[in-house]
């Protein structure tokens, strides 16, 4: 084995007995997990069925996924152009919202980020190409993120925290929402009954076909006979009923957990395992070639470290870290944005930074079908204005980056 030892120096292995003067090649195989990277303080979001849908109303500042959004600013909702998919023109569907205040500033005492996306996979595939375009080319997107923030004293909610005793109320009534999707502002009105409101013609047509045709007449007759108009104060509490649309994603509450709370007690007893190591500790060149071939390559390494990280808490659907040095956890090594791909803030032209990412486990909880054309993503990373700028618009658009699994098989 003596002569083989010299050959082996290039194989980056060395015998323990050898004395130190020689130059050793640094092992550059998979050093990623050797450097103890300072792990950022990541907060995870887990979904859970709410104990009571009333807990998810807007005056309780919820973080939720699926169902309808709980608009923070109930009046100045996003306009026509921002709420439709850039490819198919359908109004976007609500994915999730998170309550992410920034305590350092007073203008961001309340701050909620909303994510909407088109449920069609073909639009998402086209969106993947659009996100690479620069902002000047006006890319159309099918995934949109809105940010809304309010100071503590605002005309919509009390400055005192809600007591969660079932009788909290917001200060004002919100704008009327679409009767079909319950998501967007219902600007258009049904011409016959004048009660049902819609955000777009498509939703009006859908609602008409699926039952409003029968109810419309009844509503007209009922309102003629009843004398009093409904009392506005009793309507201050938003309705908790189901909306007419049945294809909305199921509603969940997002529970917040810290990732460090899931760190395993990995100090397992190593004694039994080390007995497997041969006593003489002589290195064996025999395995070197095999190890070179069987060890993972770059793509697999990214995937392996992704899996390892989420294995701490397999149920996570959201990873949040607003640190300036934070980077999202990418499942794939291809399709990651570089610094040049991240545009500047639309409103203040300042830099934008990564804030949170949505994980594919959410698809499992939503019960998305697994047909060839159903929704699937690797991860969606959301970048927001570093300064969380304010402007006259209530709901400011932020940047989302989608990473999809490749459709061709990976070799």
């Amino acid at each position: 084995m003596g002569s083989n030892m010299n050959d082996m120096k290039s194989l980056q292995e060395t015998n323990l007995d050898e004395e130190g003067d020689q130059e050793f090649e640094l092992e550059d195989v998979d050093d990623g997990d050797e450097e103890e990277e300072v792990e950022e303080y990541v907060t995870l979001g887990l979904v859970e069925k709410p104990k009571n849908p009333k807990f998810l109303l807007r005056h309780l500042f919820p973080s939720k996924a699926g169902g309808v959004p709980a608009w923070l600013d109930p009046v100045d909702l996003p306009q026509e152009k921002s709420r439709i998919c850039g490819f198919c023109g359908e109004p976007l569907q609500f994915l999730l919202q998170i309550y992410a205040p920034i305590s350092e500033e007073s203008s961001t005492f309340h701050r909620i980020l909303y994510v909407f996306m088109c449920p069609s996979m073909s639009c998402l595939l086209r969106d993947q190409h659009e996100q690479w375009k620069r902002r000047e080319d006006n890319p159309c997107r099918s995934v949109k993120v809105f940010r809304c923030q309010l100071p503590r004293c605002n005309p919509f909610y009390s400055s005192e925290p809600p007591k969660h005793d079932g009788i909290d109320k917001p200060l004002t009534v919100g704008a009327a929402l679409c009767s079909w999707c319950g998501t967007w502002k219902g600007e258009k009105v049904c011409s016959s009954c004048r009660r049902a409101r819609y955000c777009s013609e498509k939703h009006q047509a859908l609602h008409w076909k699926s039952g409003h045709r029968n109810q419309c007449r009844q509503i007209v007759n009922y309102s003629e006979t009843s004398s009093s108009s409904p009392d506005s104060s009793s309507n201050r509490l938003p309705a908790v009923g189901k909306v007419a649309c049945s294809t909305l994603w199921p509603e969940y509450e997002i529970i917040i957990e810290d990732e460090c709370a899931f760190d395993t007690e990995a100090f397992e007893d190593n004694n039994c395992a080390t007995s497997l190591v041969p006593k003489n500790m002589k290195t064996d060149d025999s395995y070197q070639f095999m190890l070179d071939k069987l060890e993972a390559d770059e793509k697999k390494k990214t995937w392996a470290s992704f899996q390892e990280r989420i294995a701490k808490c397999p149920k996570q659907v959201l990873r949040y870290c607003r640190d300036p040095k934070a980077k999202p956890l990418w499942p794939l090594s291809i399709g990651c944005p570089s610094v040049a791909n991240i545009p500047k803030c639309n409103y203040c032209n300042g830099p934008i930074c990564y804030e949170f990412q949505i994980m594919p486990q959410l698809l499992f909880y939503f019960g998305v079908r697994n047909d060839p054309d159903s929704l699937d993503w690797g991860t969606i990373a959301v970048y927001t204005c570093s300064a969380s700028c304010g402007s006259s618009i209530s709901y400011k658009e932020e940047f989302a980056w989608v990473q999809l699994y490749p459709t061709a098989p990976m070799t």
């Binding site: 925290p161 290195t283 095999m290 060890e295």
Partner: protein
């Protein structure tokens, strides 16, 4: 709601984000007082939340056997898929743990490379290698990698087709580096005639009788084992007369429904572009 120490937020929820300063070592509990592991070993399979579409299909139960995955050459990215499909039949064995060292200013830094082979002794084997600072971590990682690399092994007969297949269907050879391994069908009762390490791999594969012949520097056990593995992979690649019938292609779970597949033809001769 309890007064969470959210500083000047009063009783408002903390929401996402740090809220009140750096909580680096602070094991903050969630608003509902949840958190921390429920101690002990969890049931891995119950807690598995699939991340890929294939994983979701397997968890739903739409895919019931590994063969459906092999048929369409779908990449398996989650080891729990193999766990669900092969279940308790999968056995694993650590073949070798080897310490490797890197020279640093403060001495040598030793890590352990674990080499694991998994298999149900009925036609599926996998090999995995992982390097880590602790032996247990390396073994665990290697088992996961081995499960991801499970391949099907074809078995056949030496002579009369009586009973179950017990040997390789034909003479096959695999090569890695300078080592070539040749496997030759053997009659029942011959046993596995091979060196110690490939014998283990063949046992896991479920081959009962085989003659082997090797050439090259078999002292390089790494190449030797890999050559055996390649050889096993080729058992399903060999075109024997039973495969002469034209294939009737079926729709992969990921493929878009094409018109060509819709036509009721006896045999479809086009290239099936798989996802």
């Amino acid at each position: 709601m309890a007064e969470r120490g959210a500083g000047d937020r009063g009783g408002f929820g903390r929401g996402f984000g740090r809220g009140f300063g750096r909580g680096r070592g602070d094991r903050g509990r969630g608003d509902r007082g949840r958190g921390g592991r429920r101690g002990g070993r969890r049931d891995e399979e119950e807690k598995w939340v699939p991340v890929t579409k294939l994983g979701r299909l397997v968890k739903e139960g739409k895919i019931t056997s590994l063969e459906q995955i092999y048929l369409h050459s779908l990449p398996v990215k989650e080891h729990q898929i193999i766990d669900t499909l092969l279940g308790g039949r999968l056995k694993d064995e650590v073949m070798k743990i080897m310490p490797v060292q890197k020279q640093t200013r403060a001495g040598q830094r030793t890590r352990f490379k674990a080499f694991v082979v998994v298999g149900d002794t009925d036609g599926h084997v996998g090999l995995g290698v992982k390097c880590a600072k602790e032996v247990a971590t390396a073994i665990r990682g290697a088992i996961i990698l081995a499960k991801l690399s499970v391949i099907p092994v074809r078995r056949g007969y030496w002579g009369n087709k009586i009973g179950k297949p017990h040997t390789v269907p034909c003479k096959v050879t695999g090569k890695c580096g300078s080592v070539t391994v040749r496997m030759v069908p053997a009659p029942r009762g011959a046993g596995i005639v091979a060196a110690r390490v490939p014998k283990k791999v063949l046992q896991f594969a479920g081959i009962e009788d085989v003659f082997t012949s090797s050439r090259g520097s078999t002292k390089t056990l790494g190449n030797f084992v890999k050559a055996t593995f390649e050889c096993l992979m080729k058992t399903y690649g060999f075109l024997t007369p039973d495969f002469w019938m034209e294939t009737r292609f079926s729709k992969s779970p990921f493929q878009e429904y094409t018109d060509l597949l819709a036509k009721p033809t006896k045999a479809i001769l086009i290239e099936n572009t798989e996802s």
